[in-house]
């Protein structure tokens, strides 16, 4: 019951609608006659037998109908939380079904949404998903990969594959309870309606939808501590006049589409001796002497929905822009953490530092040493600075109301050594940059943190967070509240 004990399932052959709880769980709920038993988002009522049938202290006995009703595999290793509903009204309401306020919640049931259609659940898609569960698998739980069209909201179950223990790529096809928490991969999302339905039954989805650059900017700008680190940004409403205004004041701006990624559609507009110069990714630089000429060129190229951003004098080394990709994620205790940062050296020709355009990644220590000298203490302090700034960004974005667990941030220094937040995105942040720079441990860490956070969202936060002394109050309480099965 400490959230760490791993239980296993035993079959109560010859019984129906009955379960048998181990001593610690049974004592925690006051040895009731009936309990409401949940796994994932699925709940069933059951009689609670006081007999133990010779099971050991970690066995949860389930009669065959209860087990198949909850779609639980027989060889399941799970964690458990238990309690009694205190709210009398809710207890009476639940009592109509379950007959008691006692509840036992088995889990975590964690889902990875990996495709839109069942047919796309190929081994090629499934196998990389097992990397996500490397750190959580051994702690117990049900880890499933599923497609969007296999969600049965009515029956609160999904059809998909569960990862079998052993650290390999063995998946078992079947019907499983609807996970209580989900993370997304391969850019697959839920349509708004399904998202709302899942939310309403208490299913939490990390990075539940992709946010765009404009809203991200508004959320970040609401955090006073971040303002000195955000380039001046305005929404691109009304087209060219905004661009010209900003250009007049700042001399150089970027125009970015709200939904762009990988530097696509980014324009750089600069004022040069009376005229203008425009650079678009991959195209040669164009010069315009007058506003009219600029307007006729730029007009059709401006994104309908986007923003204009101050072009900062960013630090470069040997003609290459040096910037930083921060992997910002939430951990198994629900707190923001930075598993790693990778430096990027951009192409000497282009204004973007994307790998696709002739750039290459370097270790963060090397990138910082390029900028600030190789004194390890300076490098350490600069790295801390980037981490602190990134965590502030995470907290600010979260106030937008989305459940976020995995972000990619672009940070850079200007020529005065001041750090800037260039961009934040949650569109399947790219962890591959970690192995591209040769840091495999970081790659696997970045892969597993989203699953650890999803386990936390499912109500089984890792107790790594329990302080030795003091500091208990709010965390102990929060864990318990989140453990209440969705009703």
């Amino acid at each position: 019951m400490d959230g760490l004990t791993v239980y296993h399932i035993e079959e109560l052959t010859g019984f129906s609608g009955t379960i048998s709880l181990p001593e610690d769980l049974s004592a925690a709920v006051g040895r009731p006659d009936r309990v409401s038993l949940s796994a994932g988002a699925l709940t069933a009522a059951a009689k609670c037998s006081s007999a133990r049938f010779g099971f050991d202290g970690s066995a949860i006995g389930l009669s065959p109908d209860v087990r198949s009703g909850l779609h639980l595999p027989l060889d399941w290793q799970c964690l458990a939380r238990a309690g009694v509903r205190e709210d009398r009204g809710a207890a009476a309401e639940a009592g109509a079904k379950a007959g008691t306020g006692a509840w036992v919640y088995l889990g975590p049931v964690v889902g990875a949404l990996v495709s839109a259609a069942k047919d796309d659940l190929t081994p090629g898609r499934l196998n990389p998903i097992s990397n996500h569960f490397l750190s959580t698998m051994e702690r117990g739980g049900l880890f499933v990969a599923f497609s969007r069209d296999s969600v049965d909201l009515e029956k609160r179950c999904i059809r998909g594959f569960r990862l079998l223990p052993g650290g390999g790529n063995d998946w078992e096809s079947g019907v499983y309870p609807l996970p209580s928490a989900i993370f997304r991969r391969y850019g697959v999302g839920f349509p708004a309606r399904l998202r709302r339905s899942l939310r309403s039954i208490g299913v939490k989805t990390s990075n539940e939808r992709v946010f765009h650059k404009v809203e991200a900017h508004h959320w970040m700008a609401a955090e006073a501590g971040l303002l000195p680190h955000l380039p001046e940004t305005r929404e691109l409403t009304g087209g060219l006049p905004v661009v010209l205004q900003m250009l007049e004041r700042l001399g150089a701006v970027y125009v970015k589409p709200a939904w762009g990624s990988l530097g696509r559609g980014v324009l750089r507009v600069t004022k040069v001796n009376g005229g203008f110069s425009v650079e678009a990714g991959g195209e040669p630089r164009r010069e315009f002497a007058a506003t009219d000429a600029l307007e006729s060129y730029l007009g059709p190229r401006l994104p309908r929905f986007g923003l204009v951003q101050q072009a900062l004098p960013l630090a470069s080394v040997g003609g290459r822009l040096v910037d930083f990709r921060v992997i910002l994620q939430k951990d198994g205790t629900g707190h923001w953490t930075v598993p790693g940062i990778v430096g990027r050296c951009g192409s000497p020709k282009l204004h973007v530092s994307n790998m696709a355009a002739g750039g290459f990644p370097v270790r963060v220590e090397d990138a910082l040493a390029l900028l600030f000298g190789s004194n390890p203490i300076t490098v350490f302090r600069r790295k801390e600075e980037l981490v602190t700034l990134s965590v502030m960004v995470g907290k600010a974005l979260e106030r937008g109301g989305l459940i976020l667990g995995d972000l990619g941030l672009d940070l850079a220094y200007d020529t005065a050594g001041h750090p800037w937040v260039i961009e934040a995105n949650n569109r399947d942040p790219d962890h591959n940059i970690a192995w591209e720079v040769g840091d495999w441990p970081l790659f696997y860490r970045a892969r597993s943190l989203p699953a650890e956070y999803t386990v936390y969202l499912a109500g089984f936060g890792h107790p790594g967070d329990r302080g030795g002394r003091g500091d208990l109050g709010d965390r102990g309480g929060r864990g318990d509240r989140e453990a209440v099965p969705p009703s």
């Binding site: 040997g318 290459r320 490098v379 040769g438 790594g464």
Partner: protein
Amino acid sequence: MMTFTFTGTSGSEPVLYLTYSAYRVQTRDASAPDLPSRVWVSHGCRRVLSDLVPVLEEGHQLPASSAAVQRLGLVEGLPYRLKWVGGELVVGPVVGLHLAAKTKDMATGPHSSARLFFLRYGGVGGLAFAFATDGLNVSEGWVEGYYWKPEGSEPGPTASPGGDITTGGESWRRTRGLAERVVKRASSEGLPAETNRRTARFQAMGAEFLGRKAMEKTETTADSRVPILPDTTAGGHLAPGRFPLPAAVWRRCGRLPPDTLSALMEKTDGHVFNSDFFDKWEGFRRLSTNPSLRRHLPETAPLTNVDDLVARLAARHSIVLKQREGNSGYGMVLLEPDGDGDGCTARYRVGGRTEHFPSADSLKRKLGPLVTGRPYLVQEHIRLPSYKDRVVDFRVMMQKDHRGAWQPVVALGRFGSPGSIVTSFINNGYALPADEAMRRVFGLTWRGAFAFKCRLVDFCAEVCRALDESGGCYGDLGLDVGIDVEGHLWLFEANKLPFHELALYAGQEQAYLAVKSGPLLYASHLAGFPGES
């Protein structure tokens, strides 16, 4: 993080002048009185009843009467944090790092390694100081030492009373030199890199670019440390002073008389870590009561009589003799029974020396003095895997973070000298990050090594939590874990004064700095001010 500095003004009564935002710090859970009045103000272990006077003009500099500054022991110009606890205004954090027995032995100069303990001061603030046993006066409620003075704060006396002690700078340079040799040794036995075309291409580009830049720099400036950009992050230095007793103490030195320790524990409400420096036997006893950990502890007992030992050898079990309080495997002996008969072979730590005892009697004669001399332990021998004839085990540095949660700061594999029974890197051994070590020893892929490392650090966190439950307060432990040839984890020891430099010898300079600077965060947490990451 909202911080305020205090500046002294005249006044013979304790008075603090607070702006609205200073006064309203943390109003949500505040027990702040509705109107400024007379309240208890605390700074470390000092408490003074003071008048609060509101100031209309907002700002981060707060005036305080000289009586308040003196009686509270406030250090002017430091970025303090404020909070209300039960109607009392707490100025903090005030944390002390106990680093040595004598103040003159503390390295506090501009290149000292003691500076590294304060690397993350920026996320903590307040008064953080290093002290030695001889600077501590618990009964009179003060301590003399060196506090971290962030750059930009008011200038003060910079000359230290005992002269400028910069031995730490020299030792840091020496350590780096030695570390480079150890790292070279480790890489000479390396595995081919697990790589692919894309990584290889990027790495080649990166290496070429970095190499060219390094060369350009040496050509132009002859100093590769000259930065392109200015360093605008806050630095600072250590400055001497006399302070109130801190609200939390990190013990990085064993030399503190027991009565002083208990007095300090009482004053700080137990906020001293690591509180108990238990020996190997006590550590075993504390953890062996935990049923889930019991199977990860090698059977251990004090060596009280030699007959008992002979009986074990007769049962064909190898055993290890260890000093109860030794470290680095000092004084360790491995006894392996012969294939037949009652003889055995002893293997010593030093120089891989061995000695054969043909009979039980000859062994008894040799070991007899051990029973009466320095306390020894008898421990079941765990067969650890080896790589190129080097025995391998793991050292995981566990620290509590700014939230008081245990974190594996760095996990390392230790490779002993070829043929040696211990895994010390001294005498031709080396250390590596745990992932790389697991690849070498167990022939794992990066993926397999990562999964294994997760098991290792989960286990270490469990051990640390069990130690917390066994009594005492800990925040900086170095766990020695063996992984036997079957993959089972064995806990050998939890070190209370862990050797942080091991990270340097494993080539992990940044991890070393993280380990050094971590305890300040937990100290701040214990002092009531959770730091920022």
